[in-house]
């Protein structure tokens, strides 16, 4: 058996079913073997997009996604996607070829360990043929343990050597420690004391709470202590069925939510990092004490602060323990859960600011509400980055099995690949991606990949034909905002040319017609929605124009 064959068998034994990437002579033999083993290979048009798909897979499933690239130039294409995945704490393994160990002047040579370090990715190198199992095992072990991307770099000549060991591969799961368990009893007592001393608590749930399956426990605790339920952006719309759910805590909070947060005297963070975005540097909760539950040994909150009480615990176990301790103390209060608050929340999504629309453009706000209503709740939602996120990250409110937002590296263009990977991870279940025109243009070639694999992803392009963030910033500074205006072709027509479905839309009605068609028969489709430049998102109105809205 050749080393590349053993490497492929080891990936298969790690449970890998899909690999995203682009073939080259540094990875093609390994890919050929994977195909023989029944692993699905998704050939993409850009290695970075392939890694972005593996990132989406990891975010949706919390299990390692797998990407691949050939040596040298294939690897350098991975840069932005690697950093994004690292910031997203996505477990993934990127199998990369490496130039032959015997040829230092090979034209595709690259110091891949330094590249990985610069991209905030872990690095495992296959140094010898004998180490094939160890290298794969270590890569998956590190990806899962540290929840980060790992580059497995395999020199082309080492891959071609003989591998003589016939023993079965021992997967990384055999090395991993058990999950974090129960909280420390003394700290739990302290947390219960803080919560029982509060009158208006808010529970902020993040991805960690979702992954731990803490939903029911959170709602039970919220009912007992009279808490509002808010999410980090990463857990957007999770537990939205609760009538005291206020949406996202952070930059994408509604004005109503922000006003309620100001009244809060206690924040209970569950599986959420409570970072600078979630608490707006703490300014969202000027009067609160913090109780923080997370599986990590410690999480520093925004501004280098520590919670008043930190509990290292599995989210579900910790919330259940806190709730039962408060029940034992017969603690129960109405807190925020009053009729008055419910009334305030009923209209929280209303944004009455009026803007004069340019002819042939739509207001993106009613479009978001229409999309949320029309796209079935069992379908996933993916929201992009850039200015358009200021609409989608606030206005979508239905709970969905998967909701992924961008923003990990503050870059545009990364959500389309991530959405594609997440769609595959969900067994090719339909999903909706809402993103801006510059983002979609960046990886437009991957729409053809969507078509090739018949991915049922509906892309709605919030197209104002400009770099939105830059346009509004230049406008605020009274500079030439026109520099940020870049026209696009009719992306609906482009989608059709690539073999999918597409529409150019200029009104909510146009969008409704196109979406109804997609819902009837989901498949790869792109709606190019021309939106007005005059409609400014709520976060931008606050940040750039200083408005209290």
């Amino acid at each position: 058996m050749k080393v590349y064959q053993r490497l492929a068998a080891a990936f298969k034994a790690e449970g890998v079913s899909h690999v995203f990437g682009l073939m080259g002579d540094g990875n093609m033999y390994w890919m050929h073997e994977l195909d023989k083993l029944g692993v699905k290979l998704l050939e993409v048009r850009h290695e970075g997009a392939g890694l972005g798909m593996a990132d989406g897979w990891a975010r949706a499933t919390h299990t390692p996604g797998v990407a691949t690239a050939t040596c040298g130039p294939g690897v350098t294409q991975l840069a932005t996607a690697f950093v994004t995945a690292a910031r997203a704490q996505s477990p993934l393994v990127a199998f990369c070829g490496e130039h032959p160990t015997s040829d230092d002047e090979y034209n595709q040579r690259l110091d891949q360990s330094r590249f990985a370090a610069g991209c905030e990715a872990g690095f495992v190198r296959l140094a010898t043929a004998d180490a094939a199992d160890d290298a794969v095992r270590k890569a998956f072990y590190l990806a899962k343990l540290e929840s980060r991307p790992i580059m497995l770099s395999a020199p082309m000549d080492v891959q071609q050597k003989e591998f003589d060991d016939d023993d079965p591969y021992k997967p990384s799961s055999t090395l991993l420690p058990p999950r974090a368990g129960m909280p420390d009893p003394a700290m739990l007592e302290k947390a219960a004391g803080i919560v029982a001393g509060s009158k208006k608590p808010v529970i902020v749930v993040g991805r960690g709470a979702k992954w731990s399956g803490a939903g029911e426990a959170v709602l039970k605790l919220a009912g007992r202590i009279g808490a509002l339920v808010a999410t980090s952006l990463m857990a957007k719309t999770w537990l939205a069925e609760d009538e005291y759910h206020v949406g996202v805590s952070g930059t994408y909070a509604t004005r109503t939510a922000m006003q309620l947060f100001e009244e809060a005297d206690c924040v209970i963070g569950v599986g959420a990092s409570l970072n600078r975005y979630t608490t707006e540097h703490g300014y969202l909760y000027p009067n609160a004490r913090y109780v923080h539950l997370d599986s990590k040994p410690h999480v520093m909150m925004s501004g280098g602060r520590s919670a008043d009480c930190y509990l290292q615990t599995d989210a579900k176990a910790g919330v259940e323990a806190l709730e039962s301790l408060l029940a034992k103390r017969a603690f129960k209060q109405t807190g925020f859960r009053t009729g008055e608050v419910k009334e305030r929340l009923a209209n929280a999504l209303d944004d009455r600011a009026e803007f004069k629309l340019e002819p042939g453009t739509a207001d993106p706000r009613p479009v978001c509400l229409a999309l949320d209503e029309m796209v079935p709740a069992e379908y996933a939602l993916y929201t992009g980055s850039g200015a358009s996120a200021g609409f989608s990250n606030i206005l979508f409110s239905r709970r969905r099995p998967v909701v992924l937002a961008s923003h990990f590296f503050g870059c545009i263009g990364q959500m389309m690949p991530a959405a594609m990977g997440a769609v595959m991870a969900a067994g090719n279940k339909p999903g909706l991606l809402v993103d801006g025109d510059a983002s979609i243009m960046m990886h437009l070639a991957e729409f053809e990949t969507m078509v090739r694999y018949d991915m049922p992803l509906l892309i709605v392009v919030m197209n104002n034909q400009m770099l939105g963030a830059e346009y509004y910033k230049l406008d605020v500074h009274k500079m030439n905002a026109g520099l940020a205006a870049i026209p696009t072709p009719d992306l609906g027509a482009v989608a059709v040319a690539m073999g999918g479905r597409g529409k150019l839309a200029r009104s909510v009605e146009d969008v409704r017609t196109a979406v109804a068609e997609w819902v009837k028969k989901p498949g790869p489709m792109m709606i190019d929605l021309r939106i007005s430049r005059s409609v400014v998102t709520l976060p931008y109105r606050r940040i750039h124009y200083g408005k209290d809205e």
């Binding site: 910033k473 200083g546 809205e549």
Partner: protein, 154 residues
């Protein structure tokens, strides 16, 4: 750096307007969200100011020093402080000068101010901060004019 250059027309004689601006308590009453704290031996005093950046409110605590030149009817205010979470610092200076209105009865107050905000809040408010300061200046002008129109200031 946020810069403000304003000329405010107010009713009242220059002397009456000057008397008002030379009294920190009266000035603070013209600034929405401001409150005066303890006075110190060196003539400076503590003050607090709550500012709305979007829907979020931030309270700053500051030490304020006031230098007055009664003959020239001019003053210089300098203040520095930080917000109540400690993540944001600010430094502000303001000079003002009262003069008779050139074309009409009443007075004109020329104000030049510079405000620097540094730290965590700076990233949250970005360009909006200067608009907030400009709105606060406009509000101050309105309140000052209203105050000067009161009989005691005439």
């Amino acid at each position: 750096m946020i810069e403000v250059n304003e000329r405010i027309d107010v009713p009242g004689t220059p002397r009456a307007v000057w008397d008002l601006l030379a009294d920190p308590r009266a000035v603070v009453e013209c600034v929405q969200g401001a409150a005066l704290g303890d006075a110190h031996d060196d003539g400076s005093f503590d003050a607090s100011l709550t500012v709305k950046f979007g829907p979020a409110k931030v309270t700053f605590r500051a030490r304020v020093a006031l230098e007055l030149d009664a003959a020239a009817m001019a003053g210089h205010v300098s203040s520095r402080g930080k917000d109540n979470q400690g993540g944001t610092r600010f430094r502000a200076t303001m000079t003002f000068r009262v003069a008779p209105h050139e074309d009409a009865p009443g007075s004109t107050v020329a104000i030049e101010a510079r405000v620097e905000i540094a730290g965590r809040l700076a990233t949250v408010v970005e360009g909006g901060a200067s608009l907030v300061v400009k709105r606060m200046t406009a509000d101050f002008s309105k309140r000052l004019a209203a105050r000067c129109a009161q009989p005691s200031a005439a």
